[in-house]
Point group: C2
Chain length 480, copies 2
Amino acid sequence: MPAPRRLDPEDAQLALGKVQDLLRRQHLVESLAHRQTEGDQRADLVENLLHRQHESELKTLVDDLHPSDIAFILESLPKDERQTVWHLVSAKHDADVLLEVDDWVRESLIETMDHQDLVAATGNMDADELADLAPDLPPDVVAEVQKGLTEEERARLIEAMGYPEDSVGAIMDFDMVRVREDVTLEVVLRYLRRLNELPDHTDQIFVVDREDKLLGVLSLSRLLLSQLETEVRAVMDTDILTLNPLDSDADAAGAFERYDLVSAPVIDDHGRLIGRVTIAEVVDVIREDSEEQALSRAGMQEEDIFAPVRSALRNRAPWLLLNLCTAGIASLVASHFEDTVSHIVILAFLMSIVAGIGGNSGNQTMTLIIRALAVGRVTTRNVWQLIKREMLVTLLVGLCGSAAAAVFAWVLSGSPSIALVMMAAMVLNMLVGASVGVIVPMVRSRFGKDPAIGSSVLLTFATDSLGFFIFLGLATLFLI
Amino acid sequence: MPAPRRLDPEDAQLALGKVQDLLRRQHLVESLAHRQTEGDQRADLVENLLHRQHESELKTLVDDLHPSDIAFILESLPKDERQTVWHLVSAKHDADVLLEVDDWVRESLIETMDHQDLVAATGNMDADELADLAPDLPPDVVAEVQKGLTEEERARLIEAMGYPEDSVGAIMDFDMVRVREDVTLEVVLRYLRRLNELPDHTDQIFVVDREDKLLGVLSLSRLLLSQLETEVRAVMDTDILTLNPLDSDADAAGAFERYDLVSAPVIDDHGRLIGRVTIAEVVDVIREDSEEQALSRAGMQEEDIFAPVRSALRNRAPWLLLNLCTAGIASLVASHFEDTVSHIVILAFLMSIVAGIGGNSGNQTMTLIIRALAVGRVTTRNVWQLIKREMLVTLLVGLCGSAAAAVFAWVLSGSPSIALVMMAAMVLNMLVGASVGVIVPMVRSRFGKDPAIGSSVLLTFATDSLGFFIFLGLATLFLI
């Protein structure tokens, strides 16, 4: 009897380390063998032996792991090593690992599998799992696998494949246990025992009528604690939250979070039960959304540390070119003040401070507003209060900060009037940053766009261009 | 019998809108009344009536909501309105709302409650809930409430208060159902029926020996589906993940996510069961971590749109001053090239492009590395591969981008040699950005520090200062 395992977050990392060690030793043996004269059969033999020994060590190591941990290791290896290890994963784990790995890894794994392997791996999947994989699978595999499905499963597969990516339909499964409201709990229990196993994350079973309309839910704990002769309708819960397959997955996640749900029914427009969403999927949605946000702030889409170089270029270049354009425009704006700068060269070194701090300050405001928008805390009624508050905070921080900057400018230039211009420009540019930081995300969200993406480019553009313009403009007016 | 509700993420927002409307109408009545002559009793009467009518409308509206939604509304209102609404929340919701709201709102709610209210609200809390609130409560309230606890609960309260903030101990609860391994499932069921209710998120009950040592878990579905005469030991699961109260909550969250858990037992160093963690707490941990990260990237700690202005200043000023320092140093570096810039003024307008793009490019690298570090995907064995890959990607993107920038510089200055200096400086500075983006997070994480915070300041500092230095240095060497 195995003892309860301790949580050790380094378990998977340790396994990863061992896998990497074995792979490296294998490389070493191979490169040594290459250096031998080609005909040297003994070296070949040794290489072969070592190779097989490493392979079997790797295989034992990997097969002992949870499919999620195998997925983690595959995600952490460069492509060639990933495929070496993937070949050693036993077929019984194939399906689970394929479902667990990130999209960009999945492609490279499927690439190396032949038709037969793929059919074997996907043949026993549920309709919702198959729908997740289908876009990455060769069409002939999908065609063959779906032949093996029942009529009902095929209909579900087609349905599940039809929902857009960020919808409840895309994350729901079909593992619902249904009962009628007019039977006793004893009958329900007898029915459940015949199922042999309940679907994962079953915390409640669904009560439907003859037309599959959802009437309520019966929680497992209620089922366990009530008298067996009670009818389902007497103990079922009718005050429940239902989802529509076209709801956004982020909204569903919000509801799970707020009401502490483990599973929730999905019903169609006629009130019929068509699926359920579980907390396991919701946790993935929350995590992916937060990673997507972090990446999109740096102008990237999903990319991993070992994605091919070409896809990394495609991923990163557009953002940098966009930033290059806005920086170019800002410097064009500044270059109109060439005369001023050639008279007082020190301005050239101060102007980037004005632009930079405006951007930093605006970024603080924008981060706050985007977060408030995300949780729906901004309404038409509190918008003005919000704007006023942000302007006040920015003005106060700006006065402190620009005083410090003015002292710096004074020391550097020896001119109190340059210091005053610096101070005024900095406060003004920070107010520009705050305005853009409040307005741009709000306008984007009003038009149904993601407030985060794009806002930061516009912010930098505004604080750079206007920062240069305000500072050099004031300098031209008052110093020349 | 209420029909199943549809998920409507705007429900809480609609309620918020109504609350804001009612509050506004009330303000209006009050301000009108102030304009009347003081002795006008009729106006006072009307005001009183309207006031009471609004209050009762508000009360009905708010009392109908789920405590989580009340918490949401309180978080979305400025402080004075928040306290008006809080007074109308009926006492039965007090405890739940206090537990649900964010820390910074909780303080302002507790402020307005007297000793009696607070004792009433917290008197029936579990030890783990009380431990969460205790730091915000007046000491005399805690003293009075803990008198009403049993010996066992008091011990738990003291224990729970002792764990550090981001540990498993701080998020665990004590609602475990325990059984012995040598009883039959029928006995277990009879025992459960006497409990009347199972704790929230009970998907498994814990099997312990006489010394409370955890032997295994019995899932509710196994309990439901197995024959009643079976002994617990025959159907319990022993391959389970256990947590230690001092594990980090983020690691625990990772395990829940990876292994799709709903609850997990917490055991002490002697293997004794001392608590459990549920997915509800884990989801909060995941969400809070991701918000914290988003805020910390902008140099802020938790702040909300209606936090007091003074705390907003304290929150934002240090970051801006820090950025002011680094920007100041960068401009000091640049000012050493005053002669060069006074000869070729156009350099002043190009240098900020070089600095900016280096920062943007380094930020992409850094975002990727921080994410890979967070999931433990960077090991000593793949560090070099990673660095080589990032340098290659940056070099390639840099060559494209700097060619575009060189064309721009050529057009602006009319000088091909300025264009060449621009191109070289930009590629070099992007490589600086990539190096800092890889090395700084790794070094920070090696020394046990959060790789995200602080890294971005260092990155901007490096790409600004070195960007100016490289560009103006090359210009001095080749153009003067």
